[in-house]
Point group: C3
Chain length 156, copies 3
């Protein structure tokens, strides 16, 4: 049991979801390495090995572009998320890399006050263990349901 590694990864995940839930989207790309990959796909596509993605980006710059686009679309007042992350399993790959699998749920809170379970699934993460600031080299968000609103405004 690598206690330090486990809690380092859980801390990264916690900071990541708080940034999203607090609407600090401009901080979001900073959780990824320069060539970091971010992908949202469905469990169905993932299990079949299909390369289909709901969202795909393969650099921090692409993530930053996405944030700009979202800010222009100005949908932020309309909704917020609240994430739950649990059951994180961490495996060391080498001295500077780890893999992590977590369960997540996101509740969506509309401006009207309505709340609903919006999405559930897994985070499949490849993490670079920079001593000062660990970050995601890859984050695959595998959502359980096909019928998640495809207008995925805020990242998961």
């Amino acid at each position: 049991m690598d206690v330090e590694l486990q809690l380092t990864v859980e801390n990264l995940l916690a900071r990541y979801v708080h940034a999203l839930d607090d609407d600090r989207l401009e901080d979001w790309p900073g959780f990824f390495s320069d060539k970091g990959r971010y992908r949202i796909t469905t469990a169905e596509n993932y299990e079949r090995g299909l390369p289909l993605s709901i969202i795909y980006a393969d650099s921090r710059a692409m993530l930053a572009d996405r944030v700009s686009a979202l800010r222009h679309a100005n949908i932020y007042e309309a909704q917020r998320y609240r994430h739950t992350v649990s059951s994180t399993l961490v495996e060391r790959v080498d001295a500077s890399t780890a893999r992590a699998t977590s369960n997540f749920q996101a509740v969506r809170i509309m401006h009207t006050g309505e709340s609903m379970l919006f999405a559930s699934g897994r985070y499949l993460d490849r993490i670079r263990l920079n001593p000062k600031a660990p970050c995601f080299e890859e984050k695959i968000v595998v959502i359980d349901s096909r019928s998640v609103d495809t207008l995925l405004a805020i990242p998961l």
Copy 2:
């Protein structure tokens, strides 16, 4: 990464929600310091810096009074909560104090058997690190939605 501090705070939060979910409300004030503050407010009010609260108490005695009132109102058979707490970020303030931010969800289970997502939000805690029994100096419960049933019978 202060492993010991992180797990001490998570343990306090776990004991806190189990007391509520087990209907051990009489234990609830004991999680606070003598002059401990407890506040439930909405994200909207909190972000605007408005002092409005759904519930406010600034001593353990006030919390105990609230429990008495709730017991007299005798609504306990009618509902239970089940909390999920996750993504706890801990920051040490000084030798004897820490701050913690967590995400939470509460499911409400009615006596009829119905369950629903009742509330989601953040716990913003200021914790006194008594070696034997850490406790809350302040607990601000920031709920995401304005439309939470204002009959907040059981504390969150």
Copy 3:
């Protein structure tokens, strides 16, 4: 605070729910000791000390039989679960045994894409701390609501 014990138990619980959520049901009996007991009951029955169970098994072999029966019933395509486990309190019983209490939620994802909060409750676990592979000597799943679909296809 026994850091190592806490994270060992959380890791066991995480591997357990990932096995269920990934539909690796054949791995499920392996999380129990040879004479391991598994029981699902309601909070109402549990608090009244009633021996009624929704599911009861008292050996790994019985759990394996259950998995076979479920595979034959062929309901796997129809649904998946996604678990959230949180607020795990661990208590050491003796050198080789611990008790743990956790909150859980399970979301059910139907093949149609629909998701719903399916069950919430507590895991009451007695864990054998085999250095190589800790396992459950007893796992009591106390669900909050009486009205959970009694067709509990997949274990919780």
